[in-house]
Amino acid sequence: MPGFLKSLSAPIAFGGLIILAVVSMVADRTGRLDPDRQDLPWWQGVLLEMAIPVQKVLAAPANAVLQSWNSYVDLVDVRAENEGLRLRVAELEEANLQFREALVASGHLERIAAMRDDFEVPMQPSEVVGLDVSPFFRSVLVDRGSRHGIRPGSPVITDEGVVGVVTRTSPHAAKTMLVLDRQSRVDAVIQRNRARGMVSGNGSGELGFEFVVLGADVQIGDRVITSGLGGVYPKGLDLGQVTTVSDLSGSLVQSASLKPAVDFGRLEQVFVMLRVGPTMELLYGGDGPPLGESAESEAGGDIVDTAGSPPAS
């Protein structure tokens, strides 16, 4: 083998690698339209599989220190916060009761229950074990994969809002592209007035909200949620809050910046929705069985049925 390596002339090796890399890039970009695309091949997946235990071990000491510190900080104001929350719960229960009464009275409850069935999807709790090895891309590695029913195109969320979408899977790992990544685009609406736009990542800690028609009323503090029209994410998931509005003079559109709903700096536990939207079925392939049916239920990895508890706003 060393003889073989030495006999390779440098220009051939250089040219071959360049061609291979360019072909791989084009294939990776266009391969998303291939309906047969499923798991990574084993010789690629083994790297992700290897990364999971190593990163878990490496992150464990720092995790422990951070968790202890967070617990201490959390305890400082817990009494006052508890009292405030109890009051808030009481208020919300009262409001909820009134809404239910109103709905029953108007006969809409059955229709709303049917809509809720459409929204409920099983979820796979997963732990974030590592971040992207390149600072120019924003993705995370989670410790659940195709064995647990996760497929490329599965939306990933937390109780705070949208995290991203699964792009590659191996049996026990899944790579998730965050909404912060430059390649991410999410169709969204402003919750207050339903003005539509496109939320895009720009590689930093903020999100861009573009293509809002110039006359649309966008105000600082507005909440932006998924529209459901992109086909990837269900409608109504929280994306973030408007922090700045830029009125581009001479342009037909305006843009805004969003503070993401999810605190990506403290991302640890996420939920992978075991459902792929119609767009993702097209991009990543939809020949397999319905998601969730083939999912293994391993120790600590039980699928969560979200009945009665929609994941976000």
Partner: protein
């Protein structure tokens, strides 16, 4: 072959470790160990062809562990290795300060190239100003600071695997006809 496999394993482990480290450092300040290893290998590796193969493997591994398109980082790392290989034969940049300057400059250009390549494949990045350039600058600084550490690691591995003579590749000095 031992050297090849050793550095392949070290490179993959460094990248995986970096994935864990990235949880505790903001992205621009997290050094790119994989890229630094490629630069340091370029300054020390004995033959260009086998070095290119090694870097190709490491580049594709980086693509797998990252959100980039498959081949995107492999392509650029092959270029980085070739530049470091050639520069390492023309100038003595293994010392700490020149190495830091070289690693910082190459990292910055690598970031620019990666950004442009991403834009080429995905179209314009919406809502983005020049913030990425500042991020790239700070990332290059972080890489420059960590370059001597990775260089030291490289030297130790060379010493451990093949002995002292391979670690000290002769600097080629060409004397022109009119000299002396």
């Amino acid at each position: 072959m031992r050297l090849f496999l050793s550095f392949l394993l070290i490179g993959v482990l460094l990248m995986i470790s970096q994935g864990a480290l990235a949880r505790w450092l903001p992205p621009p300040f997290c050094p790119d160990f994989g890229l630094l290893l490629v630069i340091c290998l370029g300054l020390r590796w004995p033959t260009l062809s086998s070095g290119l193969l090694l870097v190709g493997f490491l580049g594709f591994s980086a693509d797998l562990l990252s959100g980039s398109l498959m081949g995107q980082q492999a392509l650029l790392r092959v270029f980085v290795f070739a530049i470091a290989f050639i520069a390492g034969r023309q100038f003595n940049i293994r010392e700490t300060l020149p190495l830091m300057g070289f690693a910082g400059s190459v990292s910055f250009l690598y970031g620019v190239a990666l950004y442009l390549l991403t834009l080429f494949f995905i179209g314009s990045a919406a809502g983005e100003g020049s913030g990425w350039l500042f991020d790239d600058f700070w990332h290059s600084m972080a890489n420059a600071i960590f370059a001597p550490v990775i260089s030291w690691l490289c030297a130790r591995v060379f010493l451990w695997v093949v002995g002292d003579e391979a670690n000290e590749r002769a600097l080629q000095i060409r004397v022109g006809g009119g000299a002396l």
